[in-house]
Assembly symmetry: C2
Homo-oligomer: 196 residues x 2
């Protein structure tokens, strides 16, 4: 039985959830062990690079899952505006379901560790870059001009990160509602070629 | 000489800069003392409520300064789009000047402590609410319909928070450039009454 890899994957998954709730610095290896049920000896066995290695793995897992979420939304959407509404709506719903506790797992790594830690900064940079690239490609497939899709994907991603912060502070979905409506305006305008 | 209040104000100011760089959890009282030059005895004398009280004071100071920045931008702008470009451009320039080290001082409090700490969550909620309210009022004065100004101010604030994260991760002003262009489109459309 692949106990070793299971244990490592469970620790990364647990760390990702904990980062969402209390950040990178607020998450101790002991919390990750408690939540994942992994044995204490797992820490240096699975993460010889320590906390930084765990953070890099969380950033990689979070980035990949974000791309999967974008592609699930794209598969269901019939327009660029709808794609953004489904993608952001899912993030909003996750936050609400968690009692406004679980935000983004990558944002705290940036806020607490960038640009001081090169490894963590690079891992989050790659994660954001890939997610923005995937979102831009899906927006273009849904009618946004290619030369406009990249900047719209960047604005949508920035808006999502900020809406998570505002929604947690205000314990309200208002920031997501405003953002989704504004992104829909931008996506419709870009798709119709009516924006300046 | 008002040594007592000077020392307290210097500590809040130092903590605010440190929160920008490494977050709330990443900032120890010893760092605040070192950066502010306040004597060690200042901690419990000036902040009997400990770290949480310091965090609340940073949120209050940061919120007030954000409103001042909005009003400085509004005083120089001749349109809602220009107001947003000046306000966000100043935030971008501060980040670049700091070598992509100093983001928002309030965001880490939310990301690390909300909603667990009621005091800190409330302090950041008030800060964001007041800043969004001031921005909405200035946008309305610059031609955005009153019933549209609130949601545009919320989207702009979410975008700003997220752009700070993306810009730090990518060490690039690209996220701000995309955001400012998109917010200009929204502000112009809202002011002209041409958006749907």
């Amino acid at each position: 039985m692949p106990v070793r890899s299971d244990s490592r994957a469970r620790m990364i998954s647990a760390a990702r959830r904990l980062f969402r709730e209390r950040g990178y610095l607020g998450t101790a290896f002991s919390d990750v062990l408690a939540e994942s049920g992994a044995p204490r000896g797992s820490v240096y066995f699975h993460f010889p690079g320590g906390k930084e290695e765990l953070g890099v793995e969380v950033a990689i897992a979070h980035g990949a899952d974000t791309i999967a979420q974008i592609n699930r939304a794209a598969a269901r959407a019939s327009s660029a505006a709808e794609l953004l509404a489904i993608f952001l709506g899912r993030t909003r719903d996750h936050l609400v379901t968690s009692g406004y506790r679980e935000g983004c797992a990558a944002a705290p790594i940036v806020i607490e560790m960038a640009p001081g830690s090169t490894q963590l900064t690079e891992a989050t940079r790659r994660g954001f870059q890939d997610a923005i690239g995937a979102l831009a490609a899906r927006l273009a497939e849904h009618g946004v001009p290619v030369d406009r899709a990249g900047s719209l994907a960047m604005t949508a991603t920035a808006g999502l990160e900020g809406a998570l912060i505002l929604a947690r502070a205000t314990q309200s979905t208002g920031p997501f509602d405003a953002l989704i409506a504004d992104l829909s305006r931008l996506a419709d305008g870009a798709s119709a070629g009516t924006e300046h």
